[in-house]
C-alpha cells in the first residue's frame, strides 16, 4: 500500500478539486503581482526620475488592488457557491466525535440497529455524498482530510457539519488541525473510499458483533482453518486476557448482546458503551492503530499494548508492559483477528 495522501494538492473529491483549482489561480495571480511589484522596485533602484504621484498612488495603490480584489472576491464567491451544499439529505450520515487524541466514528445502521461504532477510520462509498456531523468530547479539534475538503473545527458544545464526496477510490489521510495538546501530532484518521458494494459489505460486517469471541464454534470455518486449533486456543487466551487486564474499562468489544468483560456500569446496553478509548470490535480490520500512529499488524498491536508511550508519549492508555510475553502475544492475536 502506498502512503495515503494528505495533500490539498492531490484532490480526490469534488470540493477539494474546486479548492485545488482556486489554489493554482491564487498562486499564479499572487506570483504575477509579486513579480510585477518587484520589477517596479528593481527599476527604481538606480535612475532618479520624476514620478507621477497620481498614477502611482491612485493607479497602483488604489485602482489595481480594487479591480483585482473585486474580481477575486466575485470569483471566489461564485466558486464557493459551487461547493457541495451543507445538507444531510440523501447522504450517508456519519458522526465523528473527536477525543484526546483519537476519533470516534459512528455510522447509522441502515438495518435500524444501534449505531455502528468504530475509531480512527472512515469508509465512504465513492461518488456518494457523505454528511459528517462533527463534534468534540473534550477540547477543540479540527477535522481535516485535505484530499476531500477543507477543515472544520470540532468545538465542544457545538455540532458542525461537513459534506464530502470522494470521486476516486483510495485511502486518504486526515489529521487534527487545531492544536489539542500533547499528542496533537499523532491524531490522524484514514478515510477509505471504496465502491458501493464493497462499502455496504464492509458496513454490514462492522454492524455484526465480534467474531470468534464467545466460542470457537461461532467462527467461520475458513477462518478457523486458517488459524488452526492452536490459533483458536491463543485467541481464547487473548480474550481472557482482555477481560483480566481490564481493557474493557475503556474499550468495547461488542459480542452480541454482551460486551467482552463489559465494564461495570456500561451494563451491555447497546449504544451506551464506554467511550474512554476506541471501540475495538473490529480493530483487526483497520489500517492503522493509535490514531494513525502505527500500521496495523499483530506485532504493532503487541508493541502498542506493551508501551503505547514509546510511540505516542502522553497517550491516555496505560502501558501493559507488566504482562508476560505470552499473554501479550495472545492479546495481540485476539485483537488482530477481530476483523
Amino acid at each position: 500500500m502506498t502512503a495515503p495522501q494528505q495533500s490539498a494538492l492531490h484532490p480526490a473529491g469534488q470540493d477539494a478539486e474546486v479548492i485545488h483549482q482556486l489554489t493554482w489561480i491564487l498562486s499564479g495571480g499572487a506570483a504575477l503581482v509579486f513579480v510585477g511589484v518587484m520589477v517596479l522596485c528593481v527599476m527604481g533602484l538606480r535612475a532618479r526620475r520624476e514620478v507621477n504621484i497620481r498614477t502611482w498612488l491612485l493607479g497602483g495603490g488604489v485602482l489595481l488592488p480594487v479591480v483585482v480584489l473585486s474580481a477575486l472576491m466575485a470569483f471566489s464567491t461564485w466558486r464557493t457557491a459551487q461547493l457541495s451544499p451543507l445538507s444531510s439529505q440523501h447522504a450517508v450520515k456519519i458522526a465523528v466525535v473527536a477525543h484526546l487524541w483519537w476519533w470516534e466514528v459512528r455510522y447509522t445502521d441502515p438495518a435500524g440497529g444501534p449505531d455502528i461504532v468504530l475509531a480512527n477510520e472512515i469508509r465512504l462509498p465513492v461518488g456518494q455524498t457523505v454528511y459528517l456531523g462533527l463534534s468534540s468530547a473534550d477540547v477543540i479539534h479540527s477535522f481535516w482530510v485535505p484530499a476531500l475538503a477543507g477543515k472544520v473545527d470540532m468545538v465542544p458544545g457545538r455540532l458542525h457539519g461537513l459534506t464530502v464526496r470522494a470521486d476516486k477510490p483510495g485511502v486518504y489521510r486526515g489529521q487534527c488541525a487545531e492544536y489539542c495538546g500533547e499528542q496533537h501530532a499523532r491524531m490522524a484518521l484514514h478515510v477509505v473510499a471504496q465502491g458501493e458494494g464493497e462499502f455496504n459489505a464492509w458496513l454490514a460486517a462492522q454492524a455484526r458483533p465480534a467474531i470468534g469471541a464467545n466460542s470457537a464454534t461461532s467462527e467461520p470455518a475458513a477462518h478457523q482453518a486458517a488459524m488452526g486449533a492452536g490459533g483458536a486456543d491463543l485467541i481464547a487466551v487473548g480474550r481472557k486476557a482482555f477481560a483480566a487486564q481490564r481493557c474493557a474499562a475503556c474499550h468495547v468489544v461488542r459480542e452480541g448482546a454482551r460486551m467482552a468483560g463489559a465494564g461495570a456500569g456500561s451494563g451491555g446496553v447497546p449504544g451506551e458503551q464506554a467511550t474512554l478509548g476506541p471501540d475495538l470490535t473490529h480493530v483487526g480490520s483497520r489500517l492503522y492503530i493509535g490514531a494513525g500512529t502505527l500500521p496495523n499488524s499483530r506485532a504493532a498491536l503487541a508493541a502498542w499494548i506493551a508501551n503505547p508511550h514509546s510511540v505516542k508519549p502522553g497517550v491516555r492508555m496505560p502501558a501493559g508492559a507488566d504482562m508476560d510475553a505470552a499473554t501479550l502475544a495472545a492479546l495481540a492475536a485476539y485483537l488482530e483477528q477481530l476483523k
Binding site: 502512503a3 495522501q5 495533500s7 490539498a8 494538492l9 470540493d15 477539494a16 482556486l22 489554489t23 491564487l26 498562486s27 499572487a30 503581482v33 509579486f34 511589484v37 522596485c41 527604481g44 533602484l45 538606480r46 535612475a47 532618479r48 526620475r49 514620478v51 504621484i53 502611482w56 498612488l57 497602483g60 495603490g61 488604489v62 488592488p65 480594487v66 480584489l69 477575486l72 471566489s76 466558486r79 464557493t80 484526546l100 473534550d138 477540547v139 477543540i140 481535516w144 485535505p146 477543507g150 477543515k151 472544520v152 473545527d153 468545538v155 465542544p156 458544545g157 457545538r158 489529521q175 488541525a177 492544536y179 489539542c180 495538546g181 500533547e182 496533537h184 501530532a185 508519549p313 502522553g314
Partner: protein, 648 residues
C-alpha cells in the same frame, strides 16, 4: 542674577544656580541609581535592549523548534517540552518582543522627532518598561522550571482551562500577559498624549512626520484592542482560579467566546506591529534615497485606514470555527479591503525609490529586503482571505509561512534597517557596513529558505504545531530546508549581536548634535535652557533636521545617511535651484531657525558661506514645520559640506 539674554523669549532675569540645578535634575543617574531613570532616552534604550533580549531568546526557541522538525520522527524534544517551546516562541515573539519593541523605539525616537524634551509622563513610561520587564522575565523563567504554558500562543480554552491544563503553566501565561497588556496600554496613553500635546510649535498634525502618525494610529489601536484581551485573560483566570465556567460548554460557557476576544485584539495586533515599521520605512526611505516621500498625505490616510479596517478582520482567524457563511464572506471582503491602503503605502515607497537614488547601504538593504518579504507575505495574506482556500490552508504550515513573512518582513527587517539607521543617535557610531552585508545576506536568504518551503509543506497537509511527522508524509526535504534556513537566518541575527561596535565613528561623526534623540540628550543633559525656551529650540532643531545636519559642517551623526555620495553626484534636481529661490519665506525661516539654534550651540557652528543658497526647498508652499521630511526635501548630498560643493 545673571543678565537677561536677549536671545531668550523671556526677558525675566535668570535665577542664580539655574544651570547647576537644571543639570542636576536632568543628569542621568549613574550606577545602580540608573534603574531609577525616567528620561525617555534611557528608558527607551533599556526598553529596546530588553525587547531585543527577548527577541534573541525567542529566536533560540525557534531554532529548537526547527531542530526538532529537521528530521522525521525526531526524539530531540519530548512532545511536552516541544509544546512549551513553541508556545513560548510565539508568545515571547508577539507579546515580549514585537509589541514592546515598537513602543520602545518610539519612546526613544519620538520626543526628539516631535521636538519635545521628553515624553509627557516620564514616570509612566518607566512604569510601562518595568511592568514589561518584570512580567516578561518572570514569564520567561517559567520555561526553566518546566512550568511554561503549553497551550499555543492563543491559548484556546478548553485546552487552557483547568480540566485540560491543571498545572500552573497557563496561569503563568495569563499573569505574564496581564503585565504586558498593562504596560502596552500605559505606553499607548503616553504616546497619544505625547503626540497630540507635546509637538513643537508649528508642527501641525498635517506636517507631523509619518512615523509619528503611525505611532498615533497604533497607540489608539492599542487602547481599543487590548481591553478585549485583558477581558479575555481575566475571564480565563477567573475560570481557572474560581471555577467560573465562561468557556466550558457543558456548563453554559462557550469556547468560541475566547476566540472572539482573543482575535479582536490579536488581529489589530498584527497591524500594531506592522504600522510602526511602516512608519519607520516611510521615514528612512526618503532620506536614504534623497527624495521626498511620494504622497505624504496619502500614506498618512492609508495608516489610518489600516487602523480602522483592521478591527473588522478578527474573524478571519476563525473561518473554520463554524461562523455563518454570510459573516465569513463579509470578513473575507474586509480582509481584502485592508490590502488597498497597504498597497498605497507600498507603491508610495517604490515611487520614492524611483524618485530618488538608491545607495546600497545597510539600512537600504534591509528596506529592500522588507519590500520583498512583506509584499510576498501580503499576497499570501490575500490568498488566505479567500474562504475556500483558507479552509485548506488554515492552521497548516501555509499559515506559519504567511505569518512569518508578514511579521519578519513587516517588523524584523525594518527594525534592523532602523537599527543601522538610527544607531548613531545612541553612541555616535555606525555598525560595520561590510558586516551588515553579511547580516543582511544571511538573514534574507535564510529567512526565505526557512519559510518559503512551508507554503508547500502546508499545502501538502502538514498541520502547524505538530511535534513530529512520519517520513511517509513526504515532508522531509521541505522541513530540512526550513531548518537549514532558520539556522542561517539566526546566524545573521547573531552577527549583529556579536559585533555591536564593529565600526569606528565615521570620519565626520565627531558630534552627536543631530536630529531627534541626540538633541534631546544634549538639551536634557547638558544645556541650560529655560524649559519653555529649550523646548522651542529643540523643536526647531528637530524640525530643521536638515539644517541641523547641514549645519553640522559634516559632523552630523546621521550625515552618513543624509548623503555621503561621491561628489560627482551632487546635483540639484532640475529646477530645484529656482525652486529654492521661489521658496523665499520658507528658506528664510529655515535659515533663521538654524542661526538661532547654532547660537545656542545646539548645533555646532558651520562655516556660514554655504547656508542660504543651498537650502533647496523644492516647493514654495513647503514650510519648515514639516518635521523630518524637511531633511529629505533637499537634494541629497547637500548635507555634507565640502569646499567643492560650496563652490557650486
Amino acid at each position: 542674577m545673571t543678565a537677561p539674554r536677549n536671545d531668550l523669549p523671556s526677558s525675566v532675569p535668570r535665577p542664580d544656580g539655574e544651570l547647576e540645578q537644571l543639570e542636576r535634575v536632568w543628569r542621568t543617574p549613574r550606577g545602580l541609581r540608573f534603574l531609577t531613570t525616567v528620561n525617555n532616552t534611557s528608558i527607551g534604550l533599556l526598553y529596546i535592549g530588553t525587547a531585543l533580549l527577548f527577541f534573541l531568546l525567542a529566536g533560540i526557541l525557534g531554532l529548537m523548534i526547527r531542530a526538532q522538525l529537521a528530521l522525521p520522527d525526531s526524539s530531540l524534544l519530548s512532545p511536552g517540552v516541544y509544546n512549551q517551546v513553541f508556545t513560548m516562541h510565539g508568545t515571547v515573539m508577539m507579546f515580549l518582543f514585537a509589541i514592546p519593541v515598537v513602543e520602545a523605539i518610539s519612546v526613544f525616537l519620538l520626543p526628539g522627532m516631535l521636538g519635545a524634551r521628553d515624553l509627557p509622563f516620564p514616570r509612566l513610561s518607566a512604569y510601562a518598561f518595568w511592568a514589561y520587564a518584570a512580567g516578561g522575565i518572570g514569564f520567561f523563567v517559567s520555561l526553566f522550571a518546566g512550568l511554561a504554558p503549553d497551550g499555543g500562543w492563543f491559548m484556546y480554552p478548553p485546552l487552557s482551562g483547568k480540566e485540560h491544563s491543571p498545572g500552573i503553566n497557563a496561569d503563568f501565561w495569563l499573569l505574564g500577559i496581564g503585565f504586558i497588556e498593562i504596560s502596552a496600554i500605559a505606553g499607548a496613553i503616553e504616546l497619544i498624549v505625547g503626540i497630540l500635546f507635546t509637538r513643537a510649535p508649528g508642527m501641525m498634525l498635517r506636517r507631523m512626520p509619518v512615523y509619528a502618525w503611525a505611532m498615533l494610529v497604533i497607540a489608539l489601536m492599542i487602547v481599543f484592542a487590548f481591553p478585549a484581551i485583558i477581558a479575555g485573560t481575566a475571564l480565563l483566570e477567573l475560570e481557572r482560579a474560581y471555577d467560573w465556567p465562561f468557556f466550558i460548554a457543558a456548563r453554559g460557557g462557550d469556547p468560541v467566546l475566547w476566540q472572539h476576544l482573543f482575535w479582536f485584539f490579536g488581529h489589530p495586533e498584527v497591524y500594531i506591529i506592522f504600522l510602526p515599521a511602516a512608519g519607520m520605512v516611510s521615514t528612512m526611505i526618503p532620506s536614504l534615497v534623497g527624495a521626498r516621500l511620494v504622497g505624504h498625505k496619502a500614506v498618512v490616510i492609508a495608516l489610518g485606514a489600516v487602523g480602522v479596517v483592521s478591527f473588522a478582520l478578527w474573524a478571519h482567524h476563525m473561518f473554520t470555527a463554524g461562523l455563518s457563511l454570510w459573516s465569513s464572506t463579509l470578513v473575507s471582503a474586509a480582509s481584502m479591503i485592508v490590502a488597498v491602503p497597504t498597497a498605497v503605502q507600498v507603491f508610495a515607497w517604490i515611487a520614492t525609490l524611483w524618485r530618488g537614488e538608491v545607495r546600497f547601504n545597510a539600512p537600504m538593504l534591509f528596506v529592500l529586503g522588507f519590500l520583498f518579504i512583506f509584499v510576498l507575505g501580503g499576497l499570501t495574506g490575500v490568498m488566505v482571505a479567500v474562504l475556500p482556500f483558507d479552509w485548506q490552508a488554515h492552521d497548516s504550515y501555509f499559515i506559519v509561512a504567511h505569518l512569518h513573512y508578514v511579521l519578519i518582513g513587516g517588523l524584523v527587517f525594518p527594525m534592523f534597517g532602523a537599527l543601522y539607521y538610527w544607531l548613531p543617535l545612541v553612541n555616535g557610531h555606525r555598525l560595520s557596513e561590510r558586516l551588515a552585508r553579511w547580516v543582511f545576506g544571511l538573514m534574507f536568504a535564510g529567512m526565505n529558505l526557512a519559510f518559503f518551503p512551508m507554503h508547500i509543506s502546508g499545502l501538502l497537509g502538514m498541520p502547524r504545531r505538530v511535534y513530529t511527522y512520519s517520513t511517509e508524509m513526504g515532508w522531509d526535504a521541505l522541513n530540512l530546508a526550513s531548518s537549514i534556513g532558520a539556522l542561517h537566518s539566526c546566524a545573521g541575527r547573531a552577527a549583529v549581536y556579536g559585533r555591536r561596535r564593529a565600526h569606528a565613528a565615521p570620519p565626520q561623526a565627531g558630534a552627536r548634535q543631530s536630529v531627534a534623540g541626540a538633541d534631546a540628550r544634549v538639551a536634557a543633559g547638558r544645556r541650560l535652557c529655560h524649559p519653555q525656551h529649550c523646548r522651542r529650540a529643540l523643536a526647531r532643531a528637530a524640525v530643521g533636521s536638515a539644517a541641523a545636519c547641514r549645519g553640522s559642517g559634516g559632523r552630523c551623526a546621521l550625515a552618513a545617511w543624509h548623503g555621503h555620495r561621491p561628489a560627482r553626484n551632487h546635483r540639484h534636481q532640475p529646477g530645484a535651484g529656482h525652486a529654492a529661490v521661489r521658496a523665499g519665506a520658507a528658506r528664510r525661516q529655515l535659515v533663521a531657525v538654524r542661526r538661532r539654534a547654532r547660537h545656542r550651540r545646539l548645533l555646532p557652528a558651520a562655516d556660514g558661506a554655504h547656508d542660504a543658497g543651498r537650502v533647496a526647498v523644492r516647493r514654495g508652499g513647503d514650510r519648515v514645520g514639516a518635521g523630518v521630511d524637511v531633511a529629505v526635501r533637499q537634494p541629497a548630498g547637500a548635507c555634507r559640506v565640502t569646499p567643492g560643493v560650496r563652490g557650486r
